[in-house]
Symmetry: C2
Subunit: 207 residues, 2 copies
């Protein structure tokens, strides 16, 4: 049982603090001393529980992406191959789980961590993400290919790539995604989804 205020086990308190500090200062910019101080645990606890800082970084991704991509795949399975499925449906299956994740504060921090991971061209990290979660992108791309049969493979990859960039940028909290204080949370999420889906669908379907 932890002695400090929060009643969470040490491992999870580290993961929470890591998510926040990685989002703010990057993976190299956030030190284990800042991190353990913010979590209220001993400096050595990171190496004891995770082995190294790199493995901690991977664990931060694993915890969130398992949940995020699980929901994405579940939503996609429901509509994949269905003749009635539209581009907008597929985009909804991709975007809605991410917006749900952004619902609580710690989840939205993770989207910024993810945006950082894209910006870092670190090969180890990219390989880890590709190996563990690449199949999700491939499944969604395959479904887009089915719904956009007139697009060449190259053209399709281009558009999916651009959609990915737009969504990552938007959801990492740079611009418009901040909720105004007079709009309730669930309504803001629906509006955000509408903007993202409308924009991405138009780009994908571009003549």
């Amino acid at each position: 049982m932890p002695a400090s205020s929060a009643a969470l086990p040490t491992k999870e308190r580290i993961l929470g603090a890591a998510e926040e500090l990685f989002a703010q200062h990057g993976f190299e910019g956030a030190s284990l001393r800042q991190l353990t101080a913010a979590a209220g645990v001993n400096l050595a606890a990171v190496n004891y529980h995770f082995g190294s800082k790199d493995r901690l970084i991977e664990e931060v991704f694993r915890r969130r992406l398992d949940q995020l991509n699980g929901r994405r795949m579940a939503a996609l399975q429901k509509i994949a191959g269905d003749p009635a499925t539209t581009i907008e449906d597929v985009l909804e299956a991709f975007i809605a789980p991410a917006l749900e994740l952004s619902h609580d504060a710690s989840g939205s921090l993770f989207m910024r961590v993810l945006a950082r991971a894209f910006a870092e061209h670190d090969d180890t990290l990219r390989k880890f993400l590709s190996e563990n979660y690449g199949h999700v992108m491939r499944q969604f791309t395959a479904e887009f290919a089915r719904l956009l049969p007139n697009l060449s493979k190259e053209e399709l990859y281009w558009r999916v790539d651009l959609v990915t960039g737009a969504l990552t940028h938007a959801m990492s909290g740079f611009g418009m995604i901040q909720r105004k204080s007079d709009v309730p949370e669930h309504q803001h999420r629906e509006q955000t989804a509408e903007h993202l889906i409308g924009f991405a669908a138009a780009g994908l379907k571009s003549p």
Copy 2:
């Protein structure tokens, strides 16, 4: 005159090496020792010529963005307010200078540095970029507003934001932008511009 192989003055050799290493390892991840070693200059040269590492970072941005945004503004001035101007024309004015910059190897590295700057939520850096180059984004947004009179201000900001994200992502070299070896450079650049402009225009004009 420098003693080493390249016939460039020390200051520019530092800027070149900084661009490359910042793109690869980030601003905190690239050390002055790596940097000066790569540039073939003494460690103290950075602080002598630039004052500090932070000022070096700003100088890396200033050098490229002055050129990039100068060309963007010049291209925009030619078409702004013209009744015959299309969305595609404005996007071309925004995108073409960036693709020209990506033409030489060092220029394309800079687009990755720029993508990193977006991912970092460092307030100092964001303030610097906003103060020095924010007027460019405002001018382009104003022109989009003229050409899309039916969009609410909020809707317009959303779409411009998403276009920015898509372009930054694409031009920082994550995905499709790599040129295949059997395609000549100028042709690749035209094709890339077509993909980007087509996608962005469709997103902006979305019903």
